[in-house]
Subunit: 215 residues, 4 copies
DNA sequence: CATGAATGAGGATTCATTCAT
DNA sequence: CATGAATGAATCCTCATTCAT
C-alpha cells in the first residue's frame, strides 16, 4: 500500500525495494534520534543511497515519516494474526494475542516510542490514517475479548475500556521500558499483567481455563 | 526549583516571574506544534518578551524544554495531594487520586502528550530527572493502593503493575483523547475504568465500600 | 595542501577550484576589513557563490581564515625560490631574495598585515602551523646569508638576528606602508635598506661585489 | 588627554579614575583575546563595574579600543625619556633608548601585539591619531641617532631607515616573542642586536665608545 | 552617579530540496 | 535511474547599547 505517495520512478518492484531500503534506515534513525533531528543526508548514508535517490521515491521528508509509521503500525497488525494461527480456544487466543502484541512491542521498542513521539509531526489527514491503523489493530484484540465473552469465559465487561487497557499494557512495556526492563522478563510481565487484569473479568469457568493455561 | 539552570539575572523573584512567563508560552506552543517546530522567536512573541530576554534566563532552547517538562510533571505531582486533602477513608482516597490524576491529564492534554513526545529531546542526564519526577508521582498512587491493601479493602495485588495500570489509564485519557473525547465524559471514563480495574482487586468489604462510594 | 580541512565534496579538482575561489574573496575582504567584521555572506557574495556552498568546502569560518593565512604564507614562500632561479652568485642571490620578499609584501600589503592581525584568531594548534610556515620562509633567507658567509662575502654575523632583521625589514614595507609609500619607491627602499644593513656585515670583498651589483 | 571622548560624567577626577579602571581591564582582555572577541560585559566584569557605568564614560566600544591604544602608545612614549634621564653621552643615550624601548615592549608584549592587530579596527581619523603617537615615539629614537651623528659617533647614515630598523627591532621582540623568548634574554637580544646593527654605522670613535659601554 | 534588565538587529550555520550531469 | 553539488531560507544565539530605577 503506497497511500498515493508520489514516486518519480514507475517500476513497482523498484519502488518496493528502494522504499523499504529507505524506510529501514529511517526507522532506525528516527527511532534512535527522533524525526526532526535526523537529516535526509543521514538517512541516505545509512540506506547507502544518494540523497537524490530518496527524492525519486518520495517527495518530502514527511513522506518518509509517514511511510515509516505506516510500516511500524502494519508490522504490529501483522504480528497478532500470525500468533493466533492454529489456536482455537478463545481464552488461549486472547492470551496469545496479548503476548504477541507485547512481543512485537518488545522487539521494536524504539518504533513504538516513535509512533507516540512523531505521529503529531504528520499533517492531520495522515495522522488520521495512522490512527485508523491503530484502530484496526485494536479491533483484533477486541475480537478476542468478545469471543471470550461469547464463550462464557469472560464476564460481560466493558469491552471498549478493556481493549484499551490491554493496548496500553502492551505499549507500556515499550513506553516504560526504562522501568520494566531489568526488573522482569517479558514473559513475567505478560503473566503478571494478565493475572492482574483478568482477575475481575474471568467467569468461574474462565478462571479454570486460565489456571490450566498458566501451567 | 531551578535545577541549576543558569541565568544572567540574579534577582530570584525576577527569575521566577520571567521564567514562568516563558514556560507558559512554551508549554502552549510546544504542546500545540512540538518542540522542534517551535522557534524561540515564537515563544518570545507569545510570552510578549524579546528574544534576548529569554536568553537572559535560560542558556539554551533545550533549557526551555527542560523547564517546561519539569513544570508539567510537577503540576501533576501537586494535583494529587491537593485532591486527597481531607479525605481519610483509604478507598475513597484511592479513587480520589485516580480521579485527580485523570483530571489533571484532562486539563493539560497537550502537556501530557508533550511529555511523551519530547522527553527524548533532552540529554540523558535531564531525561533521568524527568523520569524521577514521574516516579515520584507514581509513588503517590502506589501509596494509596498499599493503604487499601493494609485496610483489607484490596486483595494483595501486584502493586507495581497495578500502579502502572492506573498511571497508563490516566495517561490514556490524554494520549487517546482522539478516541475517548466525545465518546464519554471524564467522569464516566473514571468510573468505568475503576469498575473494570477494581473488580478483581476489591475484597468483599472493599466491594461494599466501593458500591457506597459510587452513589 | 588541505591540512585535513573537512569538505563534504570529495572531488579533488572541485575542492581545489572552489576553495581557491573562496580564499580569493576572503583574502580581499579580510585584508580590507578584518576577519571578524567580514561576514560569511560577504565572502559568498564576493566569491559569487551561495552561503551554503562555502560550508560544503569548509566547516567553519575559522577554516576560511586558516586557509587564507596558509595561502598567504605559502605564496610568500613560493616567491623567493622563483626569484632566485638562475642566479648563482651568493651576494646576488641574497639581494634577489630580499628584493623578492619585499616585492611579494608590496604586492600583497593587506595580506601581510592580515597575517599580523589575525593569526591570533586561530586556535593554538593552527597558529603553530602558520608559524611553521613563517619559519620555513625565514630559512630561505637564512640560507642565502649563510652562503654569503661561506663565500667570504659576509663577516661571521649573527645569522639568527640578521635573518629576522631582513624579515622585519621586508614586513615593515607593508606594516608601515602608511609611512614609506609616497616617500620612496620599493626599489629605493630595498637599496637604501640593503646599504644600511649590509654596511657592517660585508667583508672587503663583499663590499666590492655589492658596489658592482648596485650599478 | 581625552581626545574629546564624550563622557556623561563631568567630574574630571572621576573620569580619570573610572577610565583608567576600564582601560586597565580592557588592555588585559583585548591583549589576551582580541578586540572583537571581548565583550563589554567581559570588560565590566573584570573592571568590577557595571556595564552601564562604562557607557557613562565612553560612548562606544570603539572608544574603549581607542583609549586603550592611546594609553599603550603613550606608555611607550613615556618610557624612553624616563630611561634617558641623567644620561648625557650621546651613544649611551642611544643605547639606553633602544634598551628602554625593548624593555617596554617586553613588559607589555600583548599590548604591542594588540597595537598591530587592532589599530585597523578604528575609524580612519582615530587611526591617524594613533599613527601620530607612534611617530612621536619614533622621533625620540631619531633624535638620539642624530645626536650621535652630530657628535661624530655615527656615520651619516640613512636616519629615516635606521630609525625604523630600531623600531622594528624593538617590536620584533614582542611580535616574534614565540621565537626569541626562551632562546635568549632581553639583554642578550639588545646587545646582539646593537652589535649587528651598529657595526657599519659607528665611526672609529663611536666604535671605541661602544666597546667601552659594553663592559 | 551607578546599575543591570531589556532589546533586537545581525551573524554563523544547517538542511530540505532541486537539477544538471 | 542515480548522483551529489548547489542553493538560500530559516534558525539559534550573541552582544552592543539603552533606559528606568
Amino acid at each position: 500500500m503506497n497511500f498515493k505517495i508520489k514516486s518519480r520512478v514507475e517500476v513497482p518492484e523498484l519502488i518496493e525495494r528502494r522504499r523499504s531500503q529507505i524506510i529501514k534506515a529511517a526507522i532506525e534513525l528516527f527511532g534512535k534520534r527522533g524525526y526532526h533531528v535526523t537529516t535526509i543526508r543521514d538517512i541516505a548514508k545509512r540506506a547507502d543511497v544518494s540523497i537524490g535517490l530518496i527524492y525519486q521515491y518520495v517527495s518530502d521528508k514527511e513522506d518518509v515519516l509517514f511511510l515509516v509509521l505506516i510500516e511500524v503500525l502494519e508490522s504490529y497488525k501483522r504480528g497478532i494474526p500470525a500468533a493466533l494461527k492454529g489456536i482455537e480456544e478463545p481464552l488461549d487466543r486472547f492470551c496469545a494475542a496479548v503476548r504477541a502484541y507485547c512481543t512485537v512491542n518488545d522487539e521494536k521498542v524504539e518504533a513504538t516510542v516513535l509512533a507516540y513521539r512523531e505521529t503529531k509531526s504528520l499533517r492531520k489527514e495522515r495522522r488520521n490514517i495512522i490512527k485508523q491503523k491503530e484502530i484496526e489493530t485494536n479491533r483484533l484484540i477486541a475480537a478476542c475479548i468478545q469471543d471470550c465473552i461469547r464463550a462464557g469465559l469472560f464476564e460481560k465487561v466493558d469491552v471498549e475500556l478493556f481493549t484499551y487497557q490491554i493496548v496500553m499494557f502492551s505499549h507500556a512495556w515499550a513506553l516504560k521500558a526504562w522501568h520494566f526492563r531489568g526488573r522482569m522478563s517479558l514473559d513475567q510481565y505478560v503473566w503478571r499483567g494478565l493475572t492482574l487484569m483478568l482477575g475481575p473479568v474471568l467467569t468461574a469457568r474462565g478462571a479454570r481455563v486460565f489456571k490450566a493455561l498458566k501451567s
